[in-house]
Amino acid sequence: MVNLIWAFMAIVGILYAMFNGTMDQVNQALFEGADEAVTLSIGLISVLVFWLGIMKVAEEAGLLSLLTRFFKPFVTRLFPEIPKDHPAMGYILSNFTANLFGLGNAATPMGIKAMEQMKQISQSDKASRSMITFLAINTSSLTLIPTTVIAIRMKYESVAPTEIVGTTIMATLISTMAAILIDRLFHYRRVRKNKG
Protein backbone atom coordinates (compact mmCIF):
# COMPACT_ATOMS: atom_id res chain seq x y z
CA MET A 1 0.00 0.00 0.00
CA VAL A 2 2.83 2.37 0.78
CA ASN A 3 4.26 1.70 -2.68
CA LEU A 4 0.99 2.79 -4.22
CA ILE A 5 0.69 5.93 -2.11
CA TRP A 6 4.29 6.91 -2.70
CA ALA A 7 4.12 6.55 -6.47
CA PHE A 8 0.61 8.02 -6.58
CA MET A 9 1.67 11.27 -4.90
CA ALA A 10 4.55 11.83 -7.32
CA ILE A 11 2.61 10.76 -10.44
CA VAL A 12 -0.40 12.94 -9.62
CA GLY A 13 1.90 15.86 -8.86
CA ILE A 14 3.83 15.62 -12.12
CA LEU A 15 0.72 15.05 -14.26
CA TYR A 16 -1.02 17.99 -12.59
CA ALA A 17 2.01 20.19 -13.25
CA MET A 18 1.96 19.22 -16.96
CA PHE A 19 -1.54 20.60 -17.39
CA ASN A 20 -1.27 23.57 -15.06
CA GLY A 21 2.15 24.95 -15.93
CA THR A 22 3.66 24.43 -12.52
CA MET A 23 6.62 22.35 -13.70
CA ASP A 24 9.04 24.99 -12.39
CA GLN A 25 7.67 24.68 -8.90
CA VAL A 26 7.84 20.87 -9.12
CA ASN A 27 11.50 21.04 -10.06
CA GLN A 28 12.21 23.35 -7.18
CA ALA A 29 10.13 21.32 -4.70
CA LEU A 30 11.84 18.10 -5.74
CA PHE A 31 15.30 19.23 -4.74
CA GLU A 32 14.14 21.23 -1.76
CA GLY A 33 12.35 18.13 -0.50
CA ALA A 34 15.47 16.02 -0.94
CA ASP A 35 17.56 18.67 0.79
CA GLU A 36 15.16 18.90 3.67
CA ALA A 37 15.20 15.11 4.14
CA VAL A 38 19.01 15.04 4.35
CA THR A 39 19.02 17.92 6.84
CA LEU A 40 16.40 16.13 8.89
CA SER A 41 18.22 12.78 8.89
CA ILE A 42 21.57 14.34 9.77
CA GLY A 43 19.83 16.46 12.40
CA LEU A 44 18.37 13.29 13.87
CA ILE A 45 21.88 11.96 14.58
CA SER A 46 22.34 14.19 17.62
CA VAL A 47 18.98 13.24 19.08
CA LEU A 48 19.37 9.54 18.29
CA VAL A 49 22.88 9.26 19.71
CA PHE A 50 22.01 11.22 22.84
CA TRP A 51 18.78 9.45 23.76
CA LEU A 52 19.92 5.97 22.80
CA GLY A 53 22.99 6.53 24.95
CA ILE A 54 20.94 7.63 27.95
CA MET A 55 18.49 4.78 27.38
CA LYS A 56 21.31 2.23 27.35
CA VAL A 57 22.45 3.51 30.74
CA ALA A 58 18.85 3.44 32.00
CA GLU A 59 18.44 -0.11 30.73
CA GLU A 60 21.59 -1.35 32.44
CA ALA A 61 20.61 0.41 35.66
CA GLY A 62 17.36 -1.56 35.63
CA LEU A 63 15.19 1.53 35.21
CA LEU A 64 13.48 0.23 32.07
CA SER A 65 12.36 -2.99 33.71
CA LEU A 66 11.14 -0.93 36.67
CA LEU A 67 8.98 1.12 34.32
CA THR A 68 7.74 -2.07 32.68
CA ARG A 69 6.83 -3.66 36.00
CA PHE A 70 4.88 -0.58 37.01
CA PHE A 71 2.68 -0.58 33.91
CA LYS A 72 2.61 -4.33 33.38
CA PRO A 73 -1.12 -5.04 33.76
CA PHE A 74 -1.90 -2.37 31.19
CA VAL A 75 0.68 -3.07 28.50
CA THR A 76 0.57 -6.86 28.56
CA ARG A 77 -3.07 -6.58 27.55
CA LEU A 78 -2.25 -4.12 24.78
CA PHE A 79 0.64 -6.20 23.46
CA PRO A 80 -0.21 -9.85 24.11
CA GLU A 81 2.44 -11.01 21.61
CA ILE A 82 5.36 -9.61 23.56
CA PRO A 83 6.78 -11.75 26.40
CA LYS A 84 6.25 -9.99 29.74
CA ASP A 85 9.86 -9.26 30.59
CA HIS A 86 11.09 -8.57 27.08
CA PRO A 87 13.11 -5.34 26.66
CA ALA A 88 10.65 -4.28 23.92
CA MET A 89 8.14 -3.46 26.68
CA GLY A 90 10.59 -1.07 28.32
CA TYR A 91 11.18 0.82 25.08
CA ILE A 92 7.48 0.93 24.21
CA LEU A 93 6.75 2.43 27.62
CA SER A 94 9.55 4.98 27.46
CA ASN A 95 8.29 6.01 24.01
CA PHE A 96 4.79 6.50 25.40
CA THR A 97 6.12 8.44 28.39
CA ALA A 98 8.24 10.72 26.21
CA ASN A 99 5.22 11.38 23.98
CA LEU A 100 3.02 12.19 26.95
CA PHE A 101 5.39 14.90 28.10
CA GLY A 102 5.77 16.27 24.60
CA LEU A 103 9.41 15.21 24.32
CA GLY A 104 9.09 14.52 20.61
CA ASN A 105 12.81 14.22 20.00
CA ALA A 106 13.22 11.65 22.76
CA ALA A 107 10.19 9.66 21.64
CA THR A 108 11.51 8.88 18.14
CA PRO A 109 14.73 7.04 19.16
CA MET A 110 12.81 5.02 21.74
CA GLY A 111 10.12 4.21 19.20
CA ILE A 112 12.69 2.99 16.69
CA LYS A 113 14.35 0.92 19.40
CA ALA A 114 10.98 -0.58 20.36
CA MET A 115 10.39 -1.47 16.69
CA GLU A 116 13.80 -3.11 16.51
CA GLN A 117 13.02 -5.25 19.55
CA MET A 118 9.62 -6.21 18.16
CA LYS A 119 11.26 -7.19 14.88
CA GLN A 120 13.55 -9.52 16.81
CA ILE A 121 10.46 -11.22 18.21
CA SER A 122 8.70 -11.59 14.86
CA GLN A 123 11.84 -12.31 12.77
CA SER A 124 10.18 -11.08 9.58
CA ASP A 125 10.07 -8.00 7.37
CA LYS A 126 6.30 -7.92 7.70
CA ALA A 127 4.68 -5.67 10.29
CA SER A 128 3.64 -7.81 13.27
CA ARG A 129 0.48 -7.39 15.27
CA SER A 130 2.25 -5.57 18.10
CA MET A 131 4.00 -3.24 15.65
CA ILE A 132 0.68 -2.18 14.17
CA THR A 133 -0.80 -1.58 17.63
CA PHE A 134 2.27 0.44 18.59
CA LEU A 135 2.02 2.58 15.45
CA ALA A 136 -1.70 3.10 15.83
CA ILE A 137 -1.21 4.48 19.33
CA ASN A 138 1.69 6.63 18.18
CA THR A 139 -0.08 8.15 15.20
CA SER A 140 -3.07 9.09 17.33
CA SER A 141 -0.62 11.19 19.38
CA LEU A 142 -0.35 10.78 23.13
CA THR A 143 0.49 14.40 23.94
CA LEU A 144 -0.57 15.67 27.35
CA ILE A 145 1.13 19.05 26.99
CA PRO A 146 1.32 20.31 23.38
CA THR A 147 4.30 22.60 24.00
CA THR A 148 4.77 23.70 20.37
CA VAL A 149 1.16 24.80 20.03
CA ILE A 150 1.29 26.64 23.37
CA ALA A 151 4.41 28.46 22.18
CA ILE A 152 2.70 29.57 18.96
CA ARG A 153 -0.35 30.74 20.90
CA MET A 154 1.85 32.75 23.23
CA LYS A 155 3.62 34.35 20.30
CA TYR A 156 0.32 35.59 18.90
CA GLU A 157 -0.69 36.97 22.29
CA SER A 158 -3.40 34.58 23.37
CA VAL A 159 -5.22 35.59 26.56
CA ALA A 160 -5.03 31.98 27.73
CA PRO A 161 -2.39 30.08 25.73
CA THR A 162 -2.87 26.87 27.71
CA GLU A 163 -6.67 26.71 27.55
CA ILE A 164 -6.41 24.21 24.69
CA VAL A 165 -4.59 21.66 26.88
CA GLY A 166 -7.91 20.30 28.16
CA THR A 167 -9.49 19.97 24.73
CA THR A 168 -6.29 18.46 23.33
CA ILE A 169 -6.21 15.81 26.05
CA MET A 170 -9.88 14.98 25.46
CA ALA A 171 -9.45 14.73 21.69
CA THR A 172 -6.26 12.68 22.12
CA LEU A 173 -8.01 10.33 24.50
CA ILE A 174 -10.81 9.75 22.02
CA SER A 175 -8.48 9.23 19.05
CA THR A 176 -6.17 6.90 21.00
CA MET A 177 -9.05 4.78 22.21
CA ALA A 178 -10.43 4.72 18.68
CA ALA A 179 -7.01 3.71 17.35
CA ILE A 180 -6.81 0.78 19.77
CA LEU A 181 -10.35 -0.33 18.87
CA ILE A 182 -9.75 -0.08 15.12
CA ASP A 183 -6.46 -1.92 15.52
CA ARG A 184 -8.25 -4.75 17.31
CA LEU A 185 -10.98 -4.81 14.68
CA PHE A 186 -8.44 -5.16 11.87
CA HIS A 187 -6.53 -7.78 13.84
CA TYR A 188 -9.57 -10.01 14.32
CA ARG A 189 -10.47 -9.57 10.66
CA ARG A 190 -6.97 -10.79 9.73
CA VAL A 191 -7.30 -13.76 12.08
CA ARG A 192 -10.66 -14.76 10.58
CA LYS A 193 -9.32 -14.47 7.04
CA ASN A 194 -6.38 -16.75 7.79
CA LYS A 195 -8.67 -19.41 9.23
CA GLY A 196 -11.25 -19.32 6.47
Binding site: G33, I42, K56, T147, A178, A179
Partner: protein, 176 residues
Protein backbone atom coordinates in the same frame (compact mmCIF):
# COMPACT_ATOMS: atom_id res chain seq x y z
CA UNK B 1 1.54 28.59 32.48
CA UNK B 2 4.70 29.13 34.51
CA UNK B 3 4.20 25.63 35.90
CA UNK B 4 4.17 24.12 32.43
CA UNK B 5 7.19 26.09 31.20
CA UNK B 6 9.07 25.17 34.35
CA UNK B 7 8.06 21.53 33.98
CA UNK B 8 9.17 21.37 30.35
CA UNK B 9 12.58 22.90 31.09
CA UNK B 10 13.15 20.73 34.18
CA UNK B 11 12.00 17.39 32.88
CA UNK B 12 14.92 16.36 30.64
CA UNK B 13 17.71 17.34 33.06
CA UNK B 14 15.79 15.57 35.83
CA UNK B 15 15.47 12.36 33.77
CA UNK B 16 19.23 12.44 33.14
CA UNK B 17 19.89 13.08 36.82
CA UNK B 18 17.77 10.12 37.94
CA UNK B 19 19.26 7.77 35.33
CA UNK B 20 22.84 8.72 36.22
CA UNK B 21 22.33 8.60 39.98
CA UNK B 22 20.67 5.18 39.88
CA UNK B 23 23.20 3.82 37.38
CA UNK B 24 26.19 5.04 39.40
CA UNK B 25 24.68 3.61 42.57
CA UNK B 26 24.25 0.25 40.82
CA UNK B 27 27.86 0.42 39.59
CA UNK B 28 26.96 0.53 35.89
CA UNK B 29 29.89 1.78 33.75
CA UNK B 30 27.85 4.85 32.79
CA UNK B 31 30.05 6.55 30.23
CA UNK B 32 30.91 3.32 28.42
CA UNK B 33 27.24 2.29 28.27
CA UNK B 34 26.28 5.72 26.97
CA UNK B 35 28.81 5.50 24.15
CA UNK B 36 27.81 1.95 23.32
CA UNK B 37 24.12 2.88 23.12
CA UNK B 38 24.84 6.06 21.21
CA UNK B 39 26.77 4.25 18.48
CA UNK B 40 23.55 2.66 17.29
CA UNK B 41 22.10 6.10 16.69
CA UNK B 42 24.52 6.91 13.88
CA UNK B 43 23.61 3.83 11.86
CA UNK B 44 19.94 4.43 12.49
CA UNK B 45 20.06 7.96 11.13
CA UNK B 46 21.82 6.82 7.97
CA UNK B 47 19.60 3.82 7.32
CA UNK B 48 16.65 6.16 7.72
CA UNK B 49 17.82 8.64 5.12
CA UNK B 50 16.61 6.97 1.88
CA UNK B 51 13.17 6.24 3.36
CA UNK B 52 12.74 9.79 4.57
CA UNK B 53 14.12 11.31 1.38
CA UNK B 54 11.89 9.26 -0.89
CA UNK B 55 8.77 10.10 1.06
CA UNK B 56 9.58 13.79 1.41
CA UNK B 57 10.37 14.23 -2.29
CA UNK B 58 7.06 12.62 -3.25
CA UNK B 59 5.15 14.89 -0.87
CA UNK B 60 7.11 17.91 -2.11
CA UNK B 61 6.13 17.14 -5.74
CA UNK B 62 2.48 16.82 -4.79
CA UNK B 63 2.53 20.09 -2.88
CA UNK B 64 4.76 21.99 -5.29
CA UNK B 65 2.62 21.16 -8.33
CA UNK B 66 -0.44 22.64 -6.67
CA UNK B 67 -2.26 19.30 -6.92
CA UNK B 68 -2.66 19.01 -3.15
CA UNK B 69 -4.21 22.46 -2.97
CA UNK B 70 -6.54 21.67 -5.87
CA UNK B 71 -7.60 18.44 -4.19
CA UNK B 72 -8.32 20.24 -0.92
CA UNK B 73 -10.37 22.84 -2.76
CA UNK B 74 -12.28 20.10 -4.57
CA UNK B 75 -13.09 18.10 -1.44
CA UNK B 76 -13.85 21.09 0.83
CA UNK B 77 -17.57 21.39 -0.06
CA UNK B 78 -18.17 17.77 0.96
CA UNK B 79 -16.49 18.26 4.31
CA UNK B 80 -18.26 21.54 4.92
CA UNK B 81 -21.55 19.77 4.22
CA UNK B 82 -20.89 17.42 7.15
CA UNK B 83 -20.10 20.34 9.45
CA UNK B 84 -16.34 20.71 9.16
CA UNK B 85 -15.49 24.46 9.23
CA UNK B 86 -14.11 25.57 5.85
CA UNK B 87 -10.93 27.18 7.21
CA UNK B 88 -9.89 24.03 9.04
CA UNK B 89 -10.27 21.68 6.05
CA UNK B 90 -6.76 22.14 4.61
CA UNK B 91 -5.18 21.54 8.03
CA UNK B 92 -7.24 18.41 8.62
CA UNK B 93 -6.18 16.99 5.26
CA UNK B 94 -2.50 17.89 5.52
CA UNK B 95 -1.93 16.86 9.16
CA UNK B 96 -1.39 13.13 8.46
CA UNK B 97 0.84 13.82 5.43
CA UNK B 98 3.28 16.51 6.44
CA UNK B 99 4.19 17.77 9.89
CA UNK B 100 5.97 20.93 8.77
CA UNK B 101 3.13 21.89 6.42
CA UNK B 102 0.57 21.32 9.17
CA UNK B 103 2.53 23.39 11.68
CA UNK B 104 2.77 26.18 9.11
CA UNK B 105 -0.99 26.06 8.52
CA UNK B 106 -1.76 26.07 12.24
CA UNK B 107 0.49 29.11 12.72
CA UNK B 108 -1.21 30.88 9.84
CA UNK B 109 -4.71 30.09 11.15
CA UNK B 110 -3.79 31.31 14.64
CA UNK B 111 -2.23 34.43 13.16
CA UNK B 112 -5.12 35.35 10.88
CA UNK B 113 -8.06 34.34 13.09
CA UNK B 114 -6.46 35.05 16.47
CA UNK B 115 -5.43 32.39 19.00
CA UNK B 116 -8.61 32.81 21.04
CA UNK B 117 -11.05 32.49 18.12
CA UNK B 118 -12.98 29.28 17.48
CA UNK B 119 -10.79 28.46 14.47
CA UNK B 120 -7.64 29.29 16.44
CA UNK B 121 -8.62 26.98 19.28
CA UNK B 122 -9.70 24.25 16.89
CA UNK B 123 -6.43 24.43 14.93
CA UNK B 124 -4.47 24.31 18.21
CA UNK B 125 -6.39 21.27 19.43
CA UNK B 126 -6.11 19.47 16.11
CA UNK B 127 -2.38 20.11 15.89
CA UNK B 128 -1.90 18.62 19.36
CA UNK B 129 -4.24 15.69 19.16
CA UNK B 130 -3.15 13.98 15.95
CA UNK B 131 0.25 13.15 14.55
CA UNK B 132 1.91 12.91 11.15
CA UNK B 133 1.00 9.30 10.38
CA UNK B 134 2.98 9.07 7.15
CA UNK B 135 6.15 10.36 8.82
CA UNK B 136 5.87 8.04 11.81
CA UNK B 137 5.30 5.06 9.53
CA UNK B 138 8.23 6.00 7.31
CA UNK B 139 10.63 6.58 10.18
CA UNK B 140 9.69 3.65 12.41
CA UNK B 141 9.33 1.04 9.69
CA UNK B 142 12.18 2.48 7.61
CA UNK B 143 14.72 2.38 10.42
CA UNK B 144 14.23 -1.32 11.11
CA UNK B 145 13.51 -2.44 7.55
CA UNK B 146 9.86 -3.45 7.66
CA UNK B 147 8.77 -3.73 4.04
CA UNK B 148 5.22 -5.04 4.33
CA UNK B 149 3.18 -2.67 6.45
CA UNK B 150 0.05 -4.75 6.85
CA UNK B 151 -2.90 -2.74 8.12
CA UNK B 152 -0.71 -0.09 9.80
CA UNK B 153 -1.44 2.73 7.36
CA UNK B 154 -5.17 2.06 7.24
CA UNK B 155 -5.46 1.94 11.03
CA UNK B 156 -3.37 5.12 11.37
CA UNK B 157 -5.40 7.09 8.84
CA UNK B 158 -8.76 6.04 10.28
CA UNK B 159 -7.50 7.04 13.74
CA UNK B 160 -6.46 10.43 12.31
CA UNK B 161 -9.91 10.91 10.87
CA UNK B 162 -11.54 10.12 14.20
CA UNK B 163 -9.08 12.43 15.98
CA UNK B 164 -10.04 15.30 13.67
CA UNK B 165 -13.77 14.74 14.15
CA UNK B 166 -13.19 14.41 17.90
CA UNK B 167 -11.31 17.75 18.00
CA UNK B 168 -14.17 19.51 16.22
CA UNK B 169 -16.78 18.04 18.57
CA UNK B 170 -14.78 18.63 21.76
CA UNK B 171 -13.85 22.22 20.86
CA UNK B 172 -17.47 22.96 19.88
CA UNK B 173 -18.76 21.64 23.20
CA UNK B 174 -16.15 23.36 25.36
CA UNK B 175 -15.84 26.76 23.67
CA UNK B 176 -19.12 27.46 21.86
Amino acid sequence: MTLITTLSTWIIPCIILIVLVVATWKKVPTYESFVEGGKEGINMAFSLLPFLLGMMVSIAILRGSGALEAFIEWISPFLMAVGVPADIVPLALVRPISGTAALGMTTELIQSHGPDSFIGRLASTMQGSTDTTLYILTVYFGAVGIRRMGDALKVGLIADFIGIIASIIVVSIVFL
